[in-house]
Structure formats: C-alpha cells, structure tokens
Amino acid sequence: MKSFDYKAPETVDETVSLLAEFGSDAKLLAGGQSLLVLMRQRLLAPGVVIALSHVADLGDIELNGSSSIGSMVRYKTLSQGAIGSALPLLARSAGSVGSVHIRNLGTVGGALAHCDPSGDVPTALMVLGAQYEALSSRGAKTYDSHDFSVGLFETQLAEDELLVRVAVPPQPEGASIGYQRFSYREGEYPMAVAACRLEWDSNGRCSAATVAVGGGDAFPKRLPGVEAGLVGFDFDSGDLESLLQDVARPDLYAAADIRGGAAWKEKVVMVTLGRALREGHALGQGRVDA
C-alpha cells in the first residue's frame, strides 16, 4: 500500500475542516472493509486518509417513528436487537453482508459512500425511503436515497462532504417486506439483490409497492414500473412472471461482467426480484385487516 498522511479527528467539525483542506486528495476511512482492499490493489492511492473511528457522535442510533442512524453504525449493530424489530428489512440486509468479520467492522456510511452495484444495505435503504444527511464546511445537505447513486462506485456526495447520518421515515402500518439475494457462495457480493415493501388492501391485493434491485446495473435502482404495476395485483390469482416481464424489463439493465453475460445476469435479477416479491407477499399474509 502506498504511503499516505493519516489524520484521526475526534469531532465532526474537525473532520469537515480536514475535508475542506484536503478534499480531492483525501479518503475517509470508515470500517475500511472495502477501502483498504482498493488501496492495497492500488486502485486508490489517497494522499491523506482521514480515519473516522475516533469521531464522536457518528455511532448514535435513535429509533422512534422516524429513525436516525449514525453513519459509523456497523452492520453488526444494524443486524441485531432494536433495529431488527424496528426496521427488519435493514437488519436483514445488514446481516447478509460478507462474513462475521466484515459485519464487525463495516459501516452503513461506508457502504453508502462506496456504492457497490449490488450493495445490500444501500438497496434496502432505497426501499425504506431513507435520506442521507451530509455535512461540509459549506453547510448541511440532504440526499434522497432514490437518486443518491449516480454511477459505478459513484454518488452525489461531494469530495468535501461527510455523510453523518441516515434518516428513515416511519414505515407504513401493516406493510410487509421481502429481501432476497443471489450468490454462489455465502458472504460474497451478490450477483443480484432485491428488496421490496408491500402494502395490502382489505381484499389482500397489493395497494402500494416500493421495489429496488441491485447487481445488474452500475448501482442499485428503484423500479418505478414494477411499483406501479403491482398496485391492485392479486398474488394469489395473478401471474407474477408475466407481469414482471411487462413492467420490470423496461427498467432493468444488466451489464455483462466476469460472472456472466448480460442476458443471464438479467435473468438472475428477474428471478431474485420475483423471489423477493413472493416473500413480501407471504410475509404480508395474515396482516390484512389485522
């Protein structure tokens, strides 16, 4: 790994000043589970590494109607206890990342800023309608999860901005969630990841849907066509496969990579999406009129 200058700020203000000073030459080190690999492969060679491990207040969690999760909260914490009952989709996604080692260090802010094409937690947070709050010496800015990612490993975050917290709005009463990922081996970045939140009317039909997938395209995406197409859909009598052929395909783009050709990857995404939706339906059963 190339040499760099190491900064270990202890406050958010100090961190933001360092970012203002070193900006494009600096990288923020959160859990380091992706960054240190990229640096060792020399895909990245920042002149300055700003470690966040000693910064106070980035690990706070508040859970009430709206939830607030500090950017340095780790997958381990996200996948357990209080978050598990308040935001089960977030807990499922965080518990699916990597191995126990990665979950002990990897953070929600790190995952969002890294922006892997099939990031588990970023995909789940899109479905939950999360907002991301960033700070810089220029002031505070809030980003919407649905358009936070703009390219391969690329987000709207400016070079001088620090992601400080994730805000998750209250979730609709009675909604059910589905979460599925496809990988050859546990612990890998999945080839496809799909998350959904489904609401139900009194007849057991879907009344509203929020759906996101990752893995096919350069970054996780909401699927507005699927969300609209599912409204009024009856999972018991309807044909989900042909609905998805009609409404998902236009929103999907799958690029060929080392793991497979474009057509095959699109199929993997479609199958994973179908599984997540069926799971959301299964978990929603019994909640109708509850």
Partner: protein, 161 residues
Amino acid sequence: MRELDIQMSVNERPVKQRIGVNTLLRDFLREDLELTGTKGACDDGMCGSCSVHLDGEVVKSCLVLAADANGRSVRTIEGLADSDDVLHPVQQALLDEFGFQCGFCTPGMAMTMVYLLESGFQPDQESARESLVGNICRCTGYDRIADAMILAASTMGENNA
C-alpha cells in the same frame, strides 16, 4: 503524519511501538511483535487466515490499519491457550477431530470459532459451515472443521456448566 506512536494491549500485554501509518494490523502483529501465528494469504480480505479479535470481536487483521487499532485490545492465536500444556477447547477440538491438514488456515479458523462460540453460537454441521464462510481452507472438505467446532461448543458448554 506518516508515523505514529501507538499503544495497545496484545494478548493482555501492553505494547508500545512507533509504526508507519500504512502498516496493516496483520503486519504489525507478525513483523513488529513477531506473533507469526496470525497468517497472511489472500491480501484482499477473502481468506480469513489473518483473523484476530479486536476489542473482543473477530476481524480480518489485513483489513485494519494498525493506526486504527491504537488504544484498543487485540487477541491472537498466541493468546488462546492457558499454557503450553493446556490448549483452548477450540484448539483441542481441532486437534481431536483432525480439523486441519496443512494448518495454514487453522489460526484464523480458531479465532473465528472462539468468537462465535463465546457469543453463544450453537453450531450443527450446516450452520457451522455457514458461520465460517469468511475463512477459507484449501485442503479439506470442511467436514472435520465443522466437527471440531461442534465438539468445541460442547466442551465449552460443559466448562461453563
């Protein structure tokens, strides 16, 4: 800064050292402290042979800067056994079940198992294998390794009873 004076507790012994800030925790343990039980292999966080405990939690020491471990406590494979004569139940179980061949992955496997079993995990063959997904063995078929984890869970349960 390019160099940093760090201090940490390693296997319950205080350690002070000046390091280059780009030193990985793994290399600090192996090269500065000569604790070579912690192995390095893949260099990209996949293989788990460098697993150690950082503040009681298992991590891959090739994915941690030594500078970031400043002020924290580290436990390595050298810190598991009570003495040269009495192995940790996980080490003893790996020996009893022949849960290794070349042994290169074994320290990392052991550190992951100890963390999981000390957290109260009760493995069976399938869940043991799943829980060890971050530790790769290129010799065996994992059956014996999982057997060792199951045996260790029962020994540790008896010791606590």
